[in-house]
Each structure stands twice: as structure tokens, then as C-alpha cells.
């Protein structure tokens, strides 16, 4: 102890003695933290004992403010859905992760030089959720960024309360009995420590599946000893051998055989078991005093109402601000957002390789954005279909680009007299590539040569080794059109899907251009044949959709599941002899409309249902039905 330290210590001791209490240096806390919650905790409450992790009976939704879509989604859920490959190891969302039995742990990440708190990390044992709560004030990512099961969380201390705001969550579960939370949900958590108790209060706001915010409290107890078990690894397998990838277990509306099982076993009125905002409030007890009326109301809730039809409540991931936004995907690949359909850009030591060209309204900005990513000009543009929001920029990008493989080559000097567009000077344009039906349809639409891909392919696969990786273009016959392609960047592990996968709406299955609902489902399954995940259905192969936010395998699987389930419902109605109008009136998409539906615009829910109905009717009894 040096001289000064000794004096200071003495002074402190004297002062403390004068104050009449003991003295000791407690655990230091940083200037931006409140209570230290580091360490391991376990769910310690006695309440809700029936609902830990994969628990809860079918139609046991009381106290959860489900809206019509959420309730119908849950009632259509079949426990066998969890045998689908992409569901087997799916992660746990927030707040569901807290309900998993076992332990969870917090630990801090601090700047080694300033000791400022950067982040609080979490690990949940049985659900193996990896989570980071950023404490350094960084903003949340844009709406077009990828989602994960743990979402993107930021935190702030207010006295002894840690407030955490989480966005960018995946479609997950609120309870392990099929009660969904959507990828539009936001969760605000309050963590309050009282000694060795940690109260967790969560408020989930989900415009897609909830009537009102879902608030819930739970208690956790601090583990005095470090638990020995921290892992619960998962690897998906073949649980139902021989089942088609296109068959997703589900219950038709009004046909769930287990609807009353929980109610009967527990003596609960059916109305109570179906959840909804009313079940959360004390006044609900009055409703149960008239059993006949409650039963009538309950039965009406088990099938779609007569309307009105619901539109998507999802945030539009496209900023629509006249700018091109660049998002790094992974490896050599970026996603450009802002000019209609998404554009994938792969860069390296060769020219830029693009998938799609957008609407063409902001082509100059697209070119400028590509120039910030690569010193080389655009060399290739693959069109995933002929649709204008993916080909509108063709002429501009082609003109701005260059294909260095052509100058000095045989082809570079062979332009015939009178050639126009690309063929006039192929070496000094980017090369447009597409499946041959794209060329045929664009020619049929009498578009200028500069718009039309000159380099087309006919068979299942086109491939190129470019910018240090294999780029494969796969034909997807009769999906949304008859000329669809997906593009896979092998080393970067990214797939650009075009409109086969669209996070903003139901797939625009264009029957007049050769699309079919079964081809769409097959195409989504083809995508899923090429993907893998990094951890619990997060990350791994990244997916650039035709429109909407960056995604991964699980997101595509959820979309595939939706279309497959809707197909089954429409097929059942067709089998029962329903007309198109009757099918539309039955609202076979009712549980997905608040996420993907539209009641106006270029692609309404009615148009989608009509496409499914007509496609199935045209193909019936085709061998590809329910493949």
C-alpha cells in the first residue's frame, strides 16, 4: 500500500465508522448498468406448471389474446408438423425461450479498454438459444434484414430494471401447442432482480396473431452452483420416412378432432380454451355464466368468420425512399433493396454478377451501389423470371456493364451488320441470362432487344464459375411462371429465389404464364433441398427473396408450409364440390391473411385463392396433385 492509498483508506474507514455501518467494496457496476444479473438462473415459479417447453394441449389457449388468425393457425396445427425437417430443430423465440426447463445464463461483454458494457449475452440450456442484448445504444437493423429466433435485442438499465426491446424475430411459438408468434412481433422485456429472484415481464405485440399485447410474468431463481448441463443439441433426421416434402401435417378448419379434448378433460368451457383478448380480463367470467351462448360463440370461433377479409399488417420491408439500400448477406454476396424486386450482387476479382435488375426506375442508383461494392463493371445479370419488377432494369444495367470475356473473342467481333442492342456490341454490355421461356415471353411482349436476355438456357441447370465460386442457375418449371430460375452462390452459401419466395405477399402464381400451385410448392422444396442451417434453424444458407426481407431456410419452410396447407384446404373444398365463389367465401387463407393478404392492389388474396383453385382444378386428378 503506498502512502496516498493508506491515507485514503483511513479516511474511508473513519467516515464509515461515523456513519455507523460496516464498510466493504461491493461488486462494482459500470456507469451504464444497474443490477448485475450475470450468472445462471433457472425457472423457479410454481405457476403455469403445465406449459414448460413443448407442452400444452391442443385448444388450450385461455389467457392468450389471440386474434382470429392466431386462433385458426393454432387450431390448424397438427403435432406431427414438428416432424417436418425444418421444424425439428427450430429455435425458441422470445419470450418462449424462458419457458424451457433447465438453466439460462447471462454474461457481460465489456470493452477491454474502457470497461463500458457492450452487450449482455444469454444462453438457454434446453432450447440452446444464443442471444445478444446490445447495451451500447446501437440501432435496430432495417426491416429488410434477416430475422432469427432470438431476434435483435437492445437493452437499457433503468434503476434495477433492465428493459430489453427485441425485433427481427422469426415466426415461432408462444406455446408448444401450435400457438404462433409472427415474424412481425416485437417483445419488450423488463427484468427485475430482487436478491436471488429475477422477475421477467414480457409484453409481446404481434399485429399478425394477437388482439392486444400479450403480457406475462415469470420468476427465475439464481443458481448458487453452476449447473453441470448446458447443452441439448439437436440434429434433424428422417422422422417420417417416405413422406413427400410437399405434405405438411395440418388440420382442416373445423375438423380438428382434438378440439374438445382439453376442455372436456379439465372441465373448461370451450370458449375459454380458445383464447382471445377477452379471456385475459376479469369480465370474462361473466361470459361463462351462460353456457349455451358461450358454446355458440366458441363454435363460431373454430372456423373463419364471414369477414371482412383481412390485409397484411406486416411492415413493408422496402423503405420506398428513392434510395438503393445495400445489405451484406454473406461471403461475396449483397442484397440491393429499393428498386422493385430485390437484386442480388456477387462481387470478386471479376465483374459483378447480379440476379435480377429491379424495376429500372432507380437503375442509375443500382449501378452506383454496385460500384461501391466492386471496382469491376456489371458482367452478368440473371433474370429469375420475365416479370417487370425483376427485368425492368435490364437495358440500363446491360448498357452500364461489360463482359470482359468477349472483347477479342470470336463472338466479340462477329456482330452482324444491322444488329441492335446487345448484339450490336456484345463485348461492351453486360450479358443477360435467363431460362429460355423468359426470352420467349419478353419477345412476345415486344420488348426492346436491350431488355431481353440474349443468353438463355433450356435444361435443369446452368452453371458458371465466377468470382471464385460456383454459381448455379436452376430451372424451376411451372412455379410462378414457366421460366423461373433460382441462383445459388455455392461458396457464399446464398440463394436468390426470385418471386418463388416473397416475404411480402402470397406467391404470384401466374397461371396464364405457365405457373401452377404445385410447381410453386415443388420449387420451394427444391430450394430447401439446397439449404442448411447453422444453429437451430438460424443462419446457414441465406435466402434473398424476390421481394421482402433477407431470409434463411426456416423462413422458406414456413412459406412452403403455408402454401401446402392452403393447397390442402382448397383441394378439400374442390373434392367436396365447392365452387370458386364458395371457396373464396370460406376464406381458406384466414390464418395467413394478416401476414400476407391483400384486399386491393395487383395481387389480392382473392386472386391468389383463385389461382390455387384453378390450378388444382386444371390439374385434377393429375399425378402431381398433393405431391
Amino acid at each position: 500500500m503506498n502512502k496516498i492509498t493508506g491515507i485514503v483508506t483511513s479516511a474511508l474507514l473513519m467516515s464509515a465508522a461515523a456513519y455507523g455501518q460496516g464498510l466493504g467494496f461491493g461488486a462494482p457496476i459500470s456507469s451504464n448498468s444497474g443490477i448485475d444479473i450475470s450468472g445462471s438462473w433457472s425457472y423457479g415459479g410454481d405457476q403455469d406448471a403445465d406449459y414448460g417447453t413443448a407442452a400444452g394441449a391442443v385448444a388450450d389457449y385461455g389467457g392468450i389474446p389471440l386474434n382470429e388468425a392466431g386462433r385458426l393457425y393454432a387450431l390448424a396445427w397438427d403435432a406431427s408438423r414438428m416432424t417436418v425437417r425444418q421444424q425439428q430443430c427450430a429455435g425458441y423465440g422470445i419470450p418462449y425461450a424462458y419457458y424451457s426447463p433447465g438453466n439460462f445464463r447471462f454474461w457481460e461483454e465489456r470493452d477491454p479498454h474502457t470497461q463500458q458494457l457492450i452487450a449482455i449475452h444469454m444462453w438457454f440450456q434446453t432450447s440452446e438459444v444464443r442471444r445478444t442484448i446490445w447495451m451500447d445504444g446501437r440501432p435496430h437493423p432495417p426491416a429488410y434484414a434477416a430475422h432469427t429466433f432470438a431476434g435483435f435485442s437492445t437493452g437499457k438499465w433503468e434503476k434495477n430494471v433492465l428493459t430489453i426491446t427485441t425485433t427481427h424475430l422469426k415466426r415461432a411459438w408462444l406455446r408448444g401447442n401450435g400457438i404462433p408468434s409472427s415474424d412481425e412481433a416485437t417483445v419488450v422485456e423488463k427484468l427485475v432482480r430482487h436478491g436471488d429472484r429475477l422477475t421477467v415481464f414480457t409484453v409481446t405485440k404481434d399485429p399478425v396473431f394477437l388482439d392486444e399485447p400479450y403480457s406475462k410474468t415469470m420468476i427465475n431463481l439464481r443458481n448458487i452452483k453452476d449447473p453441470t448441463a448446458w447443452l441439448y443439441a439437436c440434429e434433424d433426421g428422417e422422422e417420417i420416412v417416405g413422406r413427400s416434402d410437399g405434405k405438411i401435417p395440418n388440420r382442416l378448419f373445423g375438423k380438428n378432432p382434438y378440439l374438445r379434448e382439453y376442455a372436456d378433460k379439465n372441465g373448461v368451457p370451450l370458449l375459454g380454451t380458445l383464447g382471445g383478448g377477452a379471456t385475459v380480463h376479469p369480465e370474462f367470467t361473466a361470459k361463462l355464466k351462460n353456457p349455451a351462448a358461450a358454446e355458440t360463440e366458441a363454435m363460431a370461433e373454430t372456423v373463419p368468420s364471414h369477414g371482412p377479409q383481412q390485409a397484411s399488417r406486416a411492415v413493408n420491408p422496402d423503405p420506398n425512399d428513392g434510395e438503393i439500400h445495400v445489405l451484406k448477406v454473406q461471403g461475396n454476396v449483397y442484397m440491393l433493396v429499393g428498386d422493385g424486386g430485390n437484386i442480388a450482387v456477387q462481387v470478386g476479382d471479376q465483374g459483378a454478377f447480379l440476379v435480377d435488375s429491379g424495376e429500372g426506375k432507380l437503375s442509375d442508383r443500382v449501378v452506383a451501389a454496385v460500384n461501391t461494392l466492386s471496382p469491376h463493371p456489371i458482367q452478368f445479370v440473371v433474370n429469375t423470371s420475365f416479370r417487370p419488377d425483376h427485368t425492368g432494369g435490364n437495358a440500363n444495367l446491360e448498357a452500364a456493364g461489360e463482359d470482359p470475356s468477349l472483347p477479342g473473342s470470336f463472338f466479340g467481333g462477329q456482330a452482324p451488320t444491322g444488329a441492335t442492342g446487345f448484339f450490336q456490341d456484345p463485348a461492351h454490355h453486360a450479358t443477360l441470362i435467363a431460362q429460355n421461356n423468359v426470352l420467349i415471353r419478353m419477345e412476345g411482349a415486344k420488348l426492346s432487344n436491350a431488355m431481353i436476355p440474349a443468353d438463355t438456357y433450356l435444361e435443369k441447370r446452368r452453371r458458371k464459375y465466377h468470382n471464385g465460386e460456383l454459381v448455379e442457375i436452376f430451372y424451376q418449371p411451372n412455379a410462378i411462371t414457366d421460366g423461373d430460375s433460382i441462383v445459388q452462390f455455392r461458396r457464399s452459401d446464398v440463394i436468390a429465389t426470385g418471386d418463388i419466395y416473397d416475404t411480402t405477399r402470397y406467391p404470384v402464381v401466374d397461371l396464364k404464364s405457365g405457373g401452377t400451385i404445385q410447381g410453386e410448392i415443388d420449387a420451394l422444396n427444391n430450394i430447401l433441398e439446397k439449404t442448411g442451417y447453422e444453429h437451430d434453424e438460424d443462419g446457414g444458407t441465406m435466402i434473398i427473396p424476390g421481394r421482402g426481407r433477407l431470409s434463411d431456410e426456416y423462413d422458406v419452410a414456413e412459406y412452403r408450409d403455408m402454401i401446402s396447407i392452403i393447397r390442402d384446404r382448397v383441394q378439400a373444398m374442390l373434392d367436396a364440390g365447392a365452387t370458386l365463389d364458395q371457396t373464396k367465401a370460406a376464406r381458406p387463407t384466414a390464418d395467413y391473411d394478416t401476414r400476407y393478404g391483400a384486399i386491393s392492389g395487383p395481387w389480392t388474396t382473392d386472386m391468389f385463392v383463385e389461382a390455387v383453385y384453378t390450378s388444382l382444378k386444371q390439374n385434377a386428378p393429375s399425378q402431381i396433385r398433393r405431391k
Binding site: 460496516g22 467494496f25 461491493g26 423457479g44 410454481d46 389467457g63 419488450v188 403480457s215 420468476i219 368451457p269
Partner: protein, 267 residues
């Protein structure tokens, strides 16, 4: 001033001066603030229960416990009862309670916050926070300072304190435990001297020896919605194998809408 190692002595002295000033209270020579005046958080007003946790047990008419095995996880009923408690629960007879005038047995302090309804929180005086319930028309009094009353009724005797972080934050040095405290916004209430009652409406018992520890916290959402969070531990050497821990929450109302006083019911 940046407190670096060269300046540690000076910084420490300044910190001690700060502690000294702080220890004198709100102002030179002024009396210490009353619990009401010094309340770190506003809890008064009308609140409505959000019936989410243990929904089935709270919202629906009670059903008699049949024969679950006792256990630390509640033996399937969600309360860590011992065999003696199970016997009592299985013998539950609401008619008998009614005949004895004991319809309020599930409205005692250990369960009243779980009963669906509304509560009204006010300051009865500078030292006493009052909670009234419309369901069962009960009144809880939280006394700051010395406990008051002899208890023996449904709500017992409750002693309240504003919870504090132990120690005092010294700028540049950290927290010195034992040197005063800093209010956090949590209200801690310990309740004892209870009349024996029910932890649930279906007759799961707690004894007169039960002690209830509650923490009340207020959480405000970004949209302004405000919630009251109650973290509860019931310790009962007579009927529980281990402490019974629950959390309950209410949402703030802007007025008395829905306030509907109703007497206790045994069923």
C-alpha cells in the same frame, strides 16, 4: 474531473464529501421524507388484473383437487404442497365454508392479488399504502415503519419498505456496500399474522403461520401502457414443502372504469 490513479486520493475525498452531504437527508436540518413523499414510483390509481398466469385456476370455477402426488413441482397442481395440505384440499367443501361464514378464505393476502378483478391503490396516510380490491371487497394496508395491528384476519399485518440497492455509488470508485442506499423503485411488503386461508379457490390451504413476501414493481412500456408487477413468495411451514413462488400483473387504468365491488364467493 476524471478520477485516474494519479488523482485517486482527491477523488476519494470528494466522494466522501458527497456521502457526507447525502447522509444528511433532503436538506440542511430538514426532516427525513415520509414514505409517501419519498415514494420513488407512483403506484396509486386503479389497476385491472391481466389474467394470464395460472389462467385455468384463476379464471374458471374451482374444481376439487382429486389425488395428485405431492411434490416440489406441485404434483401437477402447481403448488408445492405437502401431504397434509393435499388432505385438506381434497376435503374442500365450499358449502361448509359458506355455512361458517368463511367465503373469503381464498381472498386472503396470500391469494387476493391472484383473484381476477381491479384494485385501487391510495395512500391512507403518509406512512400507509392502501390496496382495495373490488373482488371480495378486501383492504390491505401496507405500513412503512413499525408494523401495526394484531392481525389474525384475512389480510394479516403487512410491513412495507421501499427497496434499495445496498451501498452507495461513489463516482469513479464504484459501490460501497454499507454506506447508505439508493431507492430502486421496488416496494417490498412482508405480511404475517394471517388468518388461515386458501392459496387457490379450490381449497389448497395456507396456515396462520404463513409468511408472505411481495415485491411490487411498476413497468412502463414505450407506448405508455403501465403495469404493476407483483413477485410473491409464500412460506408456510405447515402446508408447503418449499416456498411457493408466483408472479402476477395488473395494467394501469386511467379511471375507475369497471370497478365493481362484489362480495367474496366460496365457489
Amino acid at each position: 474531473m476524471i478520477c485516474n490513479r494519479r488523482r485517486v486520493g482527491l477523488c476519494a475525498m470528494m466522494a466522501l464529501i458527497s456521502v457526507s452531504v447525502w447522509a444528511q437527508g433532503p436538506g440542511p436540518g430538514g426532516p427525513p421524507q415520509s414514505p409517501k413523499a419519498g415514494a420513488p414510483v407512483e403506484m396509486t390509481g386503479y389497476w385491472v388484473s391481466m389474467v394470464v398466469e395460472d389462467w385455468k385456476y384463476r379464471m374458471l370455477p374451482p374444481t376439487k383437487v382429486k389425488s395428485p402426488p405431492p411434490g416440489i413441482f406441485g404434483g401437477g397442481i402447481g403448488v408445492p404442497v405437502n401431504p397434509e395440505a393435499l388432505k385438506v384440499a381434497m376435503a374442500w367443501d365450499p358449502a361448509k365454508d359458506e355455512a361458517a361464514g368463511d367465503q373469503c378464505r381464498s381472498y386472503g393476502a396470500a391469494n387476493i392479488m391472484r383473484v381476477p378483478g381491479r384494485i385501487h391503490i391510495t395512500w391512507q396516510d403518509e406512512q400507509t399504502l392502501k390496496i382495495e380490491t373490488d373482488a371480495g371487497m378486501q383492504t390491505r394496508l401496507f405500513h412503512f415503519g413499525a408494523a401495526q395491528g394484531s392481525g389474525g384476519d384475512w389480510q394479516g399485518v403487512s410491513q412495507a419498505t421501499w427497496e434499495s440497492l445496498e451501498g452507495f455509488q461513489i463516482p469513479g470508485l464504484g459501490r460501497l456496500s454499507g454506506l447508505g442506499s439508493e431507492k430502486t423503485g421496488s416496494l417490498k411488503v412482508v405480511t404475517a399474522k394471517l388468518k388461515a386461508g386458501y392459496l387457490r379457490k379450490n381449497g389448497i390451504p395456507y396456515s396462520a403461520n404463513a409468511v408472505l413476501t411481495e415485491y411490487f414493481d411498476v413497468a412502463t412500456e414505450p407506448d405508455g401502457d403501465t403495469y404493476l408487477l407483483i413477485t410473491t413468495t409464500v412460506e408456510d411451514p405447515v402446508y408447503l414443502l418449499q416456498p411457493y413462488q408466483t408472479t402476477t400483473h395488473f395494467k394501469k387504468q386511467s379511471d375507475a372504469a369497471g370497478w365493481s365491488p362484489s362480495p367474496c364467493t366460496a365457489r
